[in-house]
């Protein structure tokens, strides 16, 4: 089962022929992902590393019946590529690009309303269903198939959590990086809902950050709707107020979005909290035993 992506996923890469696009598309293909095409305007009709290239997403979808797109387009043009995918009716869009202007994402968010597309990211590591399909930049070998769902706003911190699980021989259903930007396509609640419905997923790790209310909204949703155990870590307890910690989203602006406040609400809503990112694996092992 898993969520979002599996063996039937047919992937195209937008921005295939760039250095990063090529490297990570090949890594994904090596992992077992069915890469059916790529898009680079002006290079349509050519073959790149054995992958057919098209000028537009629309054309690529028509020719390949792709049902997922991975975007590796530089930040000034990335929002345009996302909108191109939405226009073409691409069901799943995963945007890896970091540094898209917020104003562009506000427009993308509006374009997503009422569309057929789901956007994951931007500024995210992507999505992986271990053993079946990898779309993104995460190191495939640290994952293993299993029953824990992982959702995170951070890339490397997700790898950290996954690695701890795999070390303990605990596999993952699907790992989803929703991205560290203030405006993104998919929030924690959307993914939690999918994990709740997925019969294979037995427990979920949710990794959040300071800034915004996404984690506290998720906490309240979990309390009302979720029967599966959730373990959560919030990064940024040691961050000084008002400083942007790398991710554009990670800035404490009001009282309610500090790590302390988020930990408190998560705990009140029945979520198992890990105060240290090194405890995530152990905490999941605990809740799975119950």
């Amino acid at each position: 089962m898993a969520i979002l992506i599996n063996r039937d996923t047919r992937l195209i890469t937008v921005g295939l022929t760039g250095k990063q696009g090529t490297f990570h598309t090949l890594q994904s293909r090596d992992y077992g992902t069915n890469v059916v095409g790529g898009v680079t305007p002006g290079k349509g009709g050519t073959i790149h590393e054995g992958i057919p290239v098209f000028n537009t997403v629309f054309e690529a979808m028509n020719e390949t019946r792709a049902n997922a797109a991975m975007i590796f387009v530089p930040p000034p043009f990335a929002a345009d590529s996302i909108i191109e995918c939405i226009d073409a009716g691409m069901p799943l869009i995963i945007c890896i690009t970091e540094g898209i202007p917020v104003g562009d994402m506000v427009k993308v968010k509006a374009a997503l309303q009422g569309s057929k597309s789901r956007l994951i990211g931007p500024n995210c590591p992507g999505v992986i269903t271990p053993g079946e399909c990898k779309i993104g930049i995460m190191p495939g070998h640290i994952h293993m198939p299993g029953n824990v769902g992982v959702i995170s706003r951070s890339g490397t911190l997700t790898y950290e959590a996954v690695y701890q699980l795999t070390q303990r021989n605990i596999g993952q259903t699907t790992c989803v990086g929703i991205g560290g930007d203030p405006v993104n396509g998919t929030n924690f609640i959307d993914i939690l809902e999918m994990f709740q419905k997925d019969p294979e997923t037995k427990a979920v790790i949710m990794i959040g950050e300071i800034g915004g209310t996404a984690e506290t909204d998720a906490a309240r949703w979990i309390k009302a709707n979720m029967t599966k155990p959730v373990v959560s870590f919030i990064a940024g307890a040691a961050a000084p107020k008002g400083k942007r910690m790398g991710h554009a989203g990670a800035i404490i602006s009001g009282e309610d979005d500090s790590a302390e406040a988020k930990f408190k609400i998560l705990q009140e809503c029945g979520v198992t909290i890990a105060r240290s990112p090194a405890e995530l694996g152990a905490k999941i092992a605990e809740v799975l035993k119950k």
């Binding site: 917020v102 104003g103 951070s154 405006v183 870590f233 400083k243 910690m245 991710h247 009282e255 990112p277």
Partner: protein, 389 residues
């Protein structure tokens, strides 16, 4: 990116947003010249630094004669202005803004921010002008009136009426307020602002609506399409190390502890600071080398970390995804050799090409403490900093 009040007001004039006439000066003589040119009998002399709370710190003075303009200009220029946003060391005032006075009838608040929960820009107004908006939001949330703006429609007169009537405005003043709000939204979107805050927004005895103060921040990710905004950057207001780091694609923030940190990824970098604190340590910095780091950027990262004389140990924590462990390992080895790192170095590598990375470190002949996992790395770094030379 932040700009000064006088720069924000210059931009606002271009969008037909009403502000007072004024001019910037960096000497008392210039201030007098500006005041004479403006005419009138009352002027305001305002320190130009990138921080709020300037009035309370003594950086804003009302002058009732040209002599007073000169006197206050002399006092404020060169002073070390301390406000709740500058930190205890304060900021040196290098420029002042001299403005016409005006007869204030009422003070309000107006601002635009992104509401992340809905992914839309939100214009907020309040009758509680001159107060910190965070305080109002906390104590009297009902006194903040919001209008969410759909990017497809932009700001419409209906948004303006909603906000204007809520402030109790009417007639010509309401129309002027609507024009003010519309202009502010247009500026915000066209120039990719991240914050616009007019506090206070005032109505005058003559029925005008204008910005008494103005704060604009800009989205760093959008500066590539606004060279005019980039040109307003005042490097005297920014941390030298943070600027230097930015040139190499590193994200660096100085903190007050003694353990230097070099991490890949913002989330893991934050998590590393957290776990150091949980182990009783104190991080000296946040540093995210990013995914595209090379040997050179790793070396630069070490140089920046070592400029902080409080650093007693360095923790390198890398989980290679895009970033390959061998590149980091080579960077660490080269930096250690060339820079002569003389504080304990704890390195934890995991992920892509980890075996190769560990081999490079082991064969380097350098004194590097290898750590097995995140908790082990934190414990070793804290111990090293405590026993530090």
């Amino acid at each position: 990116m932040n700009v000064h009040e006088y720069q924000a007001k210059d931009l606002m004039r271009k969008y037909d947003i009403a502000v007072l006439q004024g001019g910037v000066a960096d000497t008392p003589a210039q201030a007098v010249e500006v005041a004479k040119k403006l005419g009138g009998s009352v002027w305001v002399v305002k320190a130009q630094i990138h921080a709020g709370g300037r009035g309370k710190g003594g950086g804003v003075k009302l002058a009732r004669s040209i002599e007073e303009v000169e006197k206050y200009a002399k006092e404020i220029l060169g002073m070390q202005l301390i406000t709740h946003q500058t930190g205890p060391e304060g900021k040196k005032v290098l420029k002042i803004l001299v403005e016409q006075g005006c007869a204030i009838d009422h003070e309000y608040y107006a601002g635009i921010v992104l509401d992340r929960s809905v992914g839309k820009f939100c214009m907020m107004v309040s009758t509680e002008g001159g107060m910190e908006i965070e305080t109002v939001a906390h104590e009297n949330p009902e006194k903040i009136i919001k209008a969410y703006i759909d990017p497809a429609t932009g700001f419409t007169p209906a948004h303006g009426r909603k906000l204007g009537f809520a402030l109790g405005l009417k007639g010509e003043t309401l129309k002027k307020a609507n024009k003010f709000f519309e202009g502010l939204y247009r500026l915000y979107v066209e120039k990719d602002c991240s914050i616009a805050e007019i506090n206070p927004l005032v109505t005058t005895k003559d029925g005008d609506v204008l910005a008494l103060d103005a704060k604009l921040n800009f989205d760093d990710n959008a500066l590539f399409r606004h060279p005019d905004i980039e040109a307003l950057r005042d490097i005297t207001e920014e941390s030298e190390q943070e600027l230097e780091a930015g040139k190499y694609g590193l994200s660096y923030i100085s903190l007050d502890g003694n353990i230097g940190c070099l991490v890949n990824g913002a989330g893991l970098a934050m998590g590393t600071l957290d776990i150091l604190k949980l182990h009783g340590g104190s991080p000296a910095n946040f540093l995210d080398v990013g995914g595209g780091a090379t040997k050179e950027t790793v070396q630069k990262a070490f140089t920046i970390i070592l400029q902080d004389k409080n650093v007693k140990a360095i923790l390198v924590n890398i989980f290679g995804g895009i970033m390959k462990c061998d590149i980091i390992a080579n960077g660490v080895v080269d930096a250690a050799k060339e820079l002569g790192i003389n504080v304990p170095l704890v390195v934890r590598l995991e992920g892509t090409n980890v075996a190769l990375g560990k081999k490079i470190l082991a064969e380097s002949g350098l004194k590097i403490t290898a750590a097995d996992d995140l908790a082990d790395a934190a414990a070793k770094a804290v111990a090293a900093a405590k026993g530090g030379k």
